[in-house]
């Protein structure tokens, strides 16, 4: 390295760790099966990896080459590109990924810590809960929390996020109560948005369909008896790290 031009050596020295750093997300993503990858997430991640790679390279080159001096149009170009343009692209395109990834089970579970038992139950192949049946059989391919707990469109997502922020507040102020209660009765629409019109649904609900659509009979009135939404009892919640105050 010492035989190289110092500037080139500096670039190479910067580039190698940066390349290692930004290749990690790409490798992490590759662990999924190709046909299971969300194309938005996949291509978005690759694009942002390149953006990070170039941006970090520009900033480090500018820092090594000019050391904070603005000596001409090239140094200004590097400054603007590395410190403004590429971060803006990263943040702008990254927002699309944020909206994609915010729906994943992993991400829901990382914030809604009081619901860990619910997530565990959903992933339990021996559980008979509706959540587990839908998850373990892959009736819902991905974003399982999101699919059942948010309604259609942007307003559904925003409403879910708003409620989520309230949950975070309650978590940190220890003002939540166990066992967790839904704020309102579970919306039939969140079941029917997938099931309504399905052959199996029509065959099984021939007599009750009209009442269900009229809102006179709810899904959970019948299904909760044999298959609760989540098979989580109070015993599952007691003793968890988060509930030491609420259990007093």
């Amino acid at each position: 390295m010492s035989r190289l031009n110092p500037q080139i050596a500096a670039i190479v020295e910067c580039t190698i760790p940066v390349a290692l750093l930004v290749s990690v997300p790409a490798r992490a993503l590759a662990q999924q099966q190709a046909f299971q990858q969300d194309p938005v997430d996949q291509y978005g991640s690759h694009f942002l990896t390149v953006v990070i790679f170039i941006g970090v390279g520009l900033v480090l080159y500018s820092l090594f080459r000019y050391r904070g001096k603005d000596v001409g149009p090239i140094s200004w170009g590097l400054l603007i590109a590395g410190a403004i343009v590429f971060p803006m692209i990263l943040s702008g395109v990254g927002t699309i990924l944020v909206f994609e990834r915010v729906k994943t089970v992993q991400l829901c579970g990382s914030c809604h810590l009081t619901m860990k038992s619910y997530v565990d139950d959903m992933m339990n192949p021996n559980s008979n809960s509706l959540a587990a049946v839908h998850y373990t059989n892959r009736y819902i391919a991905e974003n399982q929390c999101y699919e059942c707990h948010t309604s259609y469109g942007m307003s559904g997502t925003l409403e879910a996020k708003k409620q989520g922020i309230i949950d975070i507040y309650k978590y940190y102020t220890r003002t939540f109560q166990l066992p967790l209660q839904l704020r309102h009765p579970y919306r039939d629409g969140d079941c029917l948005k997938c099931h309504a019109g399905a052959t199996k649904f029509i065959a099984a609900h021939e007599e009750t369909q009209e009442r269900i659509f009229a809102g006179k009979l709810t899904c959970m009135q019948c299904h909760a008896e044999t298959n609760p939404a989540h098979n989580v009892g109070r015993a599952d919640l007691v003793g968890q790290r988060f509930n030491h105050r609420s259990n007093r």
Partner: protein
């Protein structure tokens, strides 16, 4: 001629340099937040990337815009400014002229050196100017100017000075009258000095 009523903020170059390095460090933090979010999407990393990163970008943009604006204002400003401590030589006799100097604060001595003899030709203060004769005549400075007290001067480059003379006629007249007055005073001073020398040598 009155002192030029120019106000400017002189920033320490270290502040500007620190700001530019700071914006790049902020950008590196944004890239780091982005890489962490890409590698491990959780509530915390998502929050940092979607909330903290835009805030850092905004901060970096404002800082860079501030430096760019400052540079633009400095570049488009007619005058450059300089501070001199007592006994600092502002311009040297025989040097090429590149600026006209307008005293904003303090006093300077105009000194001519002839054959190892230094003669103080004039004492100039706030609102007066020097260095312009050499610009007009396109000749080296005929005298040295030295700060007598702490001096702040506004400096007008040769090109800008000649443009000003060409296009701002009142300035031309004002300057010529001032130069004429200075020349008269200096000539009188020199004559007095020469008479004194003759008198001294006659004795």
């Amino acid at each position: 001629m009155n002192a030029p009523s120019i106000r400017t903020i002189e920033l320490d170059p270290r502040i500007i340099r620190g700001t530019l390095i700071g914006t790049q460090v902020l950008a590196l933090i944004v890239y780091l937040l982005g890489a962490i979010f890409l590698f491990r999407a959780s509530g915390g990393t998502l929050f940092l990337f979607s909330v903290a990163a835009p805030a850092l970008i905004l901060l970096a943009t404002l800082a860079l815009a501030g430096v760019a604006l400052y540079r633009y204002l400095r570049r488009s400003s007619l005058f450059a400014f300089a501070l001199f401590e007592p006994d600092d030589v502002i311009l040297q006799q025989g040097d090429e002229a590149d600026c006209a100097y307008f005293i904003q604060q303090g006093e300077v001595e105009v000194i001519r050196r002839d054959e190892e003899v230094e003669t103080v030709l004039a004492l100039l203060g706030k609102g007066e100017h020097f260095g312009e004769t050499a610009l007009i005549s396109n000749a080296p400075h005929h005298a040295t100017v030295r700060a007598k007290t702490r001096v702040r001067v506004a400096m007008l480059g040769k090109r800008k000075f000649l443009h000003m003379l060409r296009f701002v006629h009142p300035a031309q007249g004002d300057l010529m009258s001032s130069m004429n007055q200075q020349a008269t005073e200096q000539a009188a001073k020199r004559a007095k000095s020469a008479a004194q020398s003759r008198k001294d040598s006659g004795e």
